[in-house]
Amino acid sequence: MAVAESASPLLRINAVTKRFGGFVAVNNVSVDIRPGERFGLIGPNGSGKTTLINCISGAFRTEAGTVMFRGDDISRLPAHMRTRRGIARSFQIPRPFRSMTVAENLLVALDFTSLHGFASAVQRRDIVMSILMRTGLALKADVPTGNLSQVELRKMELARAMATHPKLLISDEAMAGLAGSEVDEVLDLLMKLASEDITIIMIEHIMQAVMRFSERVMCLDAGKIIAIGTPAEVMANKRVQEAYLGT
């Protein structure tokens, strides 16, 4: 059983295509993500990274292709059903529930995704606090999200995603625009989560972070996969270098 599970992919993206009008943002992308993997997704701006994870998380419906999660086709499921099955994400531009405190943001996730909905208020508070502790936000629990700094907002997004009890966590440029030490904080956090048996797809522009974090890297350009492999292989790839240096 355990053997069979590790052999089959957690997430199978099969020939996924997404168009906006006539413009093809994601073009026939296929990739398998293994359980427990730390997967890096890179590519220049506008190459379709966010669009691809929108297709995985259900924010967009795909035009063609399928998304399989733990063996089930989830291509037609609405986003909240995918979240309940274990796919959580953060947003490139943070989208907190602004009228709520940090703890309340996490409570939304508890209320709607897990059995904790039936737990007592005290127990739920404990769960929230333990997640906030792990993400380094314990002191901010009762602060309105409007008062958070940029790095705290990013961590809050990850914490809220964690509160849905994901099996797969997708982080969309959680480090963009952060200072060096803050980048390390968020990266350490993602590493820690990965060690807790959560599969992680990390979209990032900061190459050191990608290199340090990823077991495997995939590079998109104009909606297509141009390279996939170990970080070193992908960095050495001509087309990747061209795409990043610009032509």
Binding site: F20, R98, S99, G146
Partner: protein, 293 residues
């Protein structure tokens, strides 16, 4: 009961009516279609303009169209002011501003309605001019001259505004602001200024549109409620912000209304625009000739 002649008549009259609908909607096509302002008070301003025209016509016997032209600058200023207020209080604040922005314009619409009632009473008002009351016969078809005047002015107004938006620098800036504020900022223009100007133009156009409204038929203070349906129907059907689309959508609505009128009677007419609007929104929220997703 139903004949081909009747249908043809309905189509001719509907086309005339449709151009008029385009003219009263074109301001909204700019303010809502291009600028994303939930301007539910647009029809209320339209009716307000009609009463301005009525006042000038009744007191000083000014020709309604001239009167419409005369109040245009005032409406331009009104537009500048309303946009400024809207921008400062809602667009800039962000969170749940959308809810309150809509409520704001509903409130404004109601204030305008009541002010008209307090000033002019609830009775219908109409204007007098040489071209009102007479009509033109072609075979069995009687076309009121006032409809023809409204048609001609409406068509010119729509074409002028279309040219303004496509040929002048400011017009192009207005269309650019709808698509990409950053690009505009890079060009050295202030997006808020451009939007304010555009909103001013959209409101100024109501001077003439209000004149047409009262030329075509008598007005009453609550008339704006029927026009919420018509104007939004036209703008949404047109695909937000498309000027030629506005003209086509106006004609579609006009013809649909006049066919229903001849076939089912006047009591169903108020629902046509709203039913079409609902249909379009339910099937294709981006409109027929949609600009965006």
């Amino acid at each position: 009961m139903f004949s081909f002649d009747l249908l043809l008549g309905a189509i001719v009259l509907g086309t005339l009516l449709g151009c008029f609908y385009a003219a009263v909607s074109i301001g909204l096509s700019v303010s809502f279609g291009l600028l994303d302002v939930p301007h539910v008070a647009h029809p209320a301003f339209l009716v307000l303009a009609s009463y301005g025209v009525y006042l000038l016509n009744d007191r000083y016997e000014v020709d309604p169209l001239l009167a419409g032209l005369l109040i245009t600058p005032l409406f331009f200023l009104l537009g500048l002011f309303v946009y400024r207020l809207y921008h400062e209080t809602f667009e800039r604040r962000g969170t749940d501003a959308a809810v309150r922005g809509i409520a704001f314009f509903f409130g404004v619409a109601f204030i305008v309605e009541v002010l008209i009632v307090l000033q002019f009473g609830v009775d219908q008002r109409s204007v007098t001019a040489s071209y009102i009351g007479r009509s033109w016969r072609i075979g069995d078809l009687r076309i009121p001259i006032r409809q023809l005047v409204a048609f001609a002015v409406a068509l010119s107004l729509t074409i002028l505004l279309t040219l303004y938006l496509s040929k002048t620098f400011m017009g192009r800036a207005i269309r650019a602001v709808a698509q990409d504020q950053e690009a505009l900022r890079l060009m050295g223009a202030n997006p808020v200024r451009v939007k304010q100007w555009a909103f001013g133009i959209a409101t100024a156009v109501l001077g003439i549109a209000g004149a047409l409204l009262i030329i075509v038929a008598p007005v009453e203070p609550m008339l704006d409620r029927a026009y919420i349906g018509r104007t939004f129907c036209v703008v949404v059907l047109a695909g937000l912000g498309s000027m030629t689309g506005t003209l086509i959508a106006g004609i579609i609505l006009g013809v649909a209304e006049s066919i229903v009128l001849t076939m089912f009677g006047a009591s169903w007419a108020p629902a046509i625009a709203f039913a079409m609007l609902l249909g379009v929104l339910a099937v294709r929220p981006q409109g027929l000739l949609g600009r965006r997703l």
